[in-house]
């Protein structure tokens, strides 16, 4: 009987080791451990054993049962993980195949740049103000110290709707509208479309965008203007960008300045990109002319302020190294997709 049990153990172990499927494993469990199983059959014969033999065989039988049960459990677990591994292996895919296209659109590069400029100024407490594009001569010129026949009007070739109505040539018109309606302190930027009668080429467009800035308060200085512009340029172009101010003339500011940024390409050495100047002209600025303040009912003896006008196209083209302004208005998907 002892031999029988050992034989069962050996056979069971062998069969378990060879078993490769879950249902076969179950059959083996029934075959050996089930009610009608071989082990049970042996145990049924226990009655015919001597009292000395019975506990010895009983113990052995239990050992064999335990051993088969353990082997069965181990085999079941191993088989399960084998199957799982097999399944995972079968499920392997080529992860280098392209992802499914999820279409997210993009903002126009001019908007991207404008949003950044807005963020910088909102952080400094500047409100964003808008104004009409079809504007009166008064707001676009007269109130900005450019009466009719002023030679500076020549530098802004104007589209006219009627004698007194025109397409604004600068967002400075919004300065006047703001100062007429709001008492200082004033801190605004005014982005928008402006129009000049320039034929289309790589650097000109009859329509472009300006961002006007205006600050009016007691004790506003030219140094504040320099500091504000430097801060803006560092935010837009990085901390180590260098600006340079040059005296210039605008009828509505005094002193007036043009602001250049050091050429990104040659760092001031002079190269074709900056026409050998080492600097690229970026914007115009200055202290608001006392006549302009007076005209808006603000006492220039009490208040002072500065204003600046930035060409959005110019800074956008500079940032992205876009060499032809026309691309901005052609709106080719292959272009729009790059920003």
């Amino acid at each position: 009987m002892k031999e029988q049990l050992e034989k069962i153990r050996q056979l069971a172990e062998k069969e378990l080791a060879e078993c490769g499927a879950a249902d076969a494993l179950e059959n083996l469990r029934v075959k050996y451990l089930g009610k009608k199983g071989e082990l049970t059959a042996i145990l049924k014969q226990m009655g015919g054993l001597s009292a000395e033999e019975r506990p010895v065989i009983g113990q052995l039988a239990n050992e064999v049962r335990k051993s088969i049960e353990d082997k069965l459990a181990a085999r079941t677990a191993a088989l399960k993980s084998e199957l799982a591994a097999k399944k995972l292996k079968e499920e392997t895919i080529d992860v280098t195949l392209p992802g499914k296209v999820q279409s997210v659109g993009k903002l126009h590069p001019l908007t991207v740049t404008l949003n950044e400029v807005k963020e910088v100024f909102l952080g400094m407490g500047f409100e964003v103000v808008e104004g009409p594009e079809v504007e009166t001569d008064h707001y676009c010129f007269e109130a900005l110290n450019m009466p009719k026949h002023h030679p500076a009007r020549d530098t802004q070739d104007t589209f006219y709707i009627s004698e007194n109505v025109l397409l604004r040539t600068q967002t400075s018109s919004v300065q006047i509208r703001t100062m007429e309606n709001k008492k200082p302190p004033i801190r605004i930027i005014s982005p928008g479309r402006v129009y000049r009668s320039d034929a289309v080429d790589a650097t000109h467009s009859p329509l472009f965008h300006q961002i006007e800035g205006l600050v009016i308060d007691k004790g506003i200085t030219f140094a504040d203007l320099c500091g504000t512009l430097e801060l803006l340029m560092q935010r837009l172009y990085g901390e180590d960008c260098k600006i340079r101010l040059r005296p210039h003339h605008f009828p509505y500011t005094e002193p007036s300045a043009e602001v250049d940024i050091m050429c990104f390409n040659c760092h001031g050495e002079g190269c074709p990109m900056c026409k050998n100047e080492g600097y690229i002209e970026l914007l115009g600025a200055g202290m608001v002319h006392p006549k302009v303040l007076e005209g808006c009912g603000i006492d220039p003896e009490v208040y002072s302020g500065f204003a600046f006008g930035i060409g959005l196209e110019r800074i956008t083209m500079g940032r992205y190294e876009i060499n032809d302004m026309r691309l901005l208005y052609e709106n080719d998907m292959r272009f729009l997709g790059q920003f």
Binding site: S103, G105, K106, H108, T111, L122, G125, F126, E127, P132, E133, V134, E135, K148, H149, P151, A152, D154, T155, F159, I161, S162, N164, V165, L167, R187, S197, P206, L207, V215, G219, T221, F222, A223, D224, C226, G227, T228, L231, R244, L245, R246, P247, H248, H249, E254, P255, A257, E258, M287, P290, K291, S304, Y329, E330, N331, D332, M333, R334, L336
Partner: protein, 801 residues
């Protein structure tokens, strides 16, 4: 630069230092160039012999002595020119030389005879006969020694020999600084910038005795438009070319030399900044000069040979009978200087800028002189300018200057002072500049400081107020030496509701896969035809530009649609397989007031990528919900009453979006004719939404609703109805019938075909119901379904069998 060096020595500065210094102090240098830069290895040579070419009857063979350039040996050159003979001094382009325009000269053989270079004409050196009046245009430049010039040496660089080596600098002078449109003005700026002496000597002349009043009478009839008029006379003039130094300077300044008298007026204008004019006294009828307004319809033939009709608003210089010049703009042809002129009147006058500007514009001739008068002229500068002209006449020995002049002067000569307050200037600039430094900045610009006042030199017509003085201090002190400070005080700012709303729309549109575009606000009126707008559409009433660049950009758009179509077409033509685009922009709608309304609109456009109407509708839908617009409806669009653009869409595939009875947008498939007009070969879809109006309808505030506690009950219904019945009707009926327990109603299938009668369609809905009081019973749900079926029956719809 040679001219400038008459007044100030800058020889120790490199041209780059000079240019960047002046740029930084406010006289921006546009470019600078050295004349003759493109010329190399061209030397002075002397023809030793000229003999006919043995194999040609139009070529000659020359032996040329080029001095040290030929190592003492003459060189042989073959030329086709016929104006050369032995003994002539000529420019010789040696082997390996370069000429203007990138021309390279190499030795070679001409019909078998060796030629070691080329003899040059004026043209080949980039010159004209205006520069060398004694030479001919089509032939070799036979050089002549001229008085006061370096004598020729054989082998000498041609540029040095003929003075073609000056450096010219081009400045961008702003309109407030006409004083810098002159050599002396720039010398003053150079002086202030580089802090070195400059000298302007008062011009001197000897003159001959004579009483000008016996020769000429001057009367100003309009003292407002002409506050000063000075006339001087030069007798017995000898008209001829000016000397080379003068021609060189004019040429370097971009002015063509004509003859000595014309050149003198131009020279003085460039040097002193004051335009001058010269008349032939023979043609001044009655020997009187009247500065008066023209008579309506009076005519004058100007120097350019064009007859001009004048108006009463224009100021003219007239003799006893007729105009002889348009004041400050251009002289008359008739009274101009001719070769046989004997006595000349010089005019140095001051005319009103605005008047000159209007006249010049009206006549369509902006001249050098008019450009200067427009910006304003210092009347006090007229006298030294005339004196300089006299000095030059005597220097050139081309006439006798009468030593009396007529000076009709009605100008106010009291010096204009502006408050000089160093404390104010420092407070204004945000600087800490000492009074001494400020004084020195101003004095370098020839300002005088007296009793707390700053007096600018009279040429500085731009100095009017304290801020102007502050600018002068700042720019000479150096803009870049001014500290950079941050504005004091705190301010808070945020975007307006409108700006936030537009930003939300942009964010929603990009999240939905659309790309933003930027298009021109002006369009062609023809575009209205392209989008099939009805003839009588109100959108054809536009804001019209009176001076457009072209028809394509001549009216302000009243609809964004054509701009969108244009961009769709461009992308299609550029072979982009698909596009999904949007633009937020203004429309410009005349409204009877002075300025039009400028409402903001959103346009959406797409083609390709297997998209159909429901794609664009889905995007519009999702965008509206995302920005807080709820409970809007779509109805099939059948007319152009609300949106004139309806005619741009497929009549069966277009919907108007309404909310609370107000139309807020239109969406649809573009009409096949519109697609054809734009050359778009696939179906395309577009939408337009009224952003300005939507802002008031959107709810920006969101309130949390508790998550449901009880389960929902769902019923699926398949309904059969007429195929022409819009499903929106079914949905409305379901909503009404189910009532407040309705959670969602979702269409999940539309079917036509087998098992469905012709003319009918099957529409399947999933209706989800939920109560907040408790779990709905089957009875409650079934009752709701019954109500639905009853409601649908009224629409002729029934449960699918």
């Amino acid at each position: 630069m040679r001219w400038l060096s008459d007044y100030i020595d800058v020889s120790d500065l490199s041209i780059k230092e000079f240019c960047s210094g002046l740029t930084i102090s406010g006289s921006k240098v546009e470019r600078w160039e050295t004349e003759g830069e493109e010329i190399s290895k061209v030397v002075v040579g002397k023809l030793l012999s000229v003999v006919p070419h043995e194999n040609s009857d139009h070529l000659v063979v020359c032996q040329v002595d080029v001095g040290h350039a030929g190592n003492g040996e003459p060189i042989q050159i073959v030329t086709g020119a016929s104006n050369v003979k032995a003994g002539d001094i000529v420019p010789v382009a040696m082997d390996g030389s370069t000429l203007p325009g990138g021309v390279k000269i190499k030795k070679g053989k001409l019909r078998g005879v060796e030629s070691n270079g080329m003899l040059c004409s004026l043209g080949e050196l980039g010159l004209t006969t205006h520069d060398f009046p004694y030479a001919i245009a089509d032939g070799i430049f036979i050089m002549q020694e001229e008085e006061g010039c370096v004598p020729f040496e054989l082998g000498m660089d041609i540029r040095e020999a003929i003075g073609l080596n000056d450096t010219s600098v081009e400045f961008e002078i702003t309109s407030n600084r006409p004083d810098c449109l002159s050599v002396i003005g720039l010398a003053r700026e150079t002086h202030a910038t580089f802090d070195r002496p400059y000298t302007v000597k008062a011009p001197e002349y000897k003159g001959v005795e004579g009483d000008i009043n016996s020769m000429l009478k001057v009367e100003i009839h309009n003292k407002e438009l002409c506050p000063r008029y000075i006339a001087g006379v030069v007798k017995n003039v000898k008209i001829g070319p000016s000397p080379r130094w003068m021609r060189e300077r004019l040429r370097a300044s971009g002015v063509r030399p004509i003859n000595n008298f014309v050149d003198i007026t131009n020279y003085v204008m460039l040097e002193y900044g004051h335009p001058m004019h010269a008349f032939d006294i023979r043609y001044i009828k009655g020997n009187e000069i009247n500065i008066r307004n023209a008579k309506q319809g009076e005519t004058i033939t100007t120097l350019d040979g064009v007859e001009r009709t004048l108006t009463e608003k224009m100021l003219v210089i007239a003799d006893a009978e007729k105009p002889v010049a348009v004041a400050g703009v251009m002289g008359g042809e008739y009274s101009g200087i001719m070769d046989d002129t004997v006595d000349v009147v010089f005019e140095a006058a001051c005319f009103d800028g605005a008047s000159v500007r209007t006249t010049a514009k009206a006549l369509g001739m902006r001249t050098d002189a008019s450009a200067r008068f427009e910006k304003g002229i210092d009347a006090q500068n007229a006298y030294p300018a005339l004196m300089r002209a006299f000095e030059l006449v005597e220097m050139l020995g081309c006439g006798e200057v009468v030593n009396t002049i007529i000076d009709a002067d009605y100008t106010d000569k009291t010096p204009k002072g502006v408050e000089f307050n160093p404390t104010w200037i420092n407070n204004f600039l945000g600087t800490d500049i000492s009074e001494d430094v400020m004084r020195s900045c101003l004095e370098k610009l020839d300002f005088k400081i007296e009793n707390g006042m700053a007096y600018a030199p009279s040429v500085r017509i731009d100095i009017e107020c304290k801020a102007d003085v502050a600018e002068e201090v700042a720019r000479i002190y150096g803009y870049n030496n001014i500290p950079k400070t941050i504005i004091r005080g705190v301010a808070a700012a945020e975007l307006t509701e409108k700006q936030k709303f537009e930003r939300r729309i942009m964010n929603a549109m990009t999240a939905l896969g659309a790309y933003e575009i930027t298009t021109y606000s002006f369009i062609s009126p023809k575009y209205f035809d392209k989008i099939r707008l009805p003839e009588d559409s109100k959108l054809r009433n536009t804001v019209v530009i009176t001076n457009p660049l072209g028809e394509d950009t001549s009216v302000m758009r009243t609809t964004l649609l054509p701009s969108m179509c244009e961009v769709l077409a461009r992308n299609y033509n550029n072979r982009n397989a698909s596009a999904c685009l949007f633009e937020i922009g203004s429309e410009y709608l005349p409204c009877g007031k002075e300025l039009p309304e400028e409402p903001v609109r959103l346009s959406v456009g797409m083609y390709g990528g297997n998209r159909d109407f429901y794609d664009i509708k889905g995007i519009v839908d999702a965008m509206l919900k995302n920005v807080g617009v709820e409970d809007f409806e779509y109805t099939a669009c059948t007319d152009t009453a609300v949106f004139a653009e309806a005619s741009s869409f497929h009549p069966g595939r277009c919907a108007v979006i309404t909310k609370d009875g107000k139309a807020i947008g239109i969406v649809g498939e573009l009409h096949p004719e519109v697609l054809e007009n734009y050359g778009i070969g696939v179906k395309a879809y577009a939408a337009k939404l009224n952003v300005t109006e939507l802002l008031d309808m959107a709810t920006a505030v969101k309130t949390y609703k508790p998550l449901p506690k009880f389960p929902a009950t769902t019923r699926d219904l398949a309904i059969v109805c007429d195929e022409s019945l819009p499903v929106a009707e079914l949905e409305k009926a379901i909503k009404k019938a189910v009532g407040n327990i309705l959670e969602t109603v979702t269409l999940f299938d539309v079917y036509q075909g087998k098992q469905i009668a012709a003319g009918k369609k099957s529409v399947a809905y999933a209706i989800s119901m939920r109560s907040h009081e408790g779990t709905l019973t089957d009875e409650q749900a079934d009752a709701a379904v019954k109500r639905v079926l009853k409601e649908l029956a009224a629409l002729g719809a029934e449960l699918r069998a």
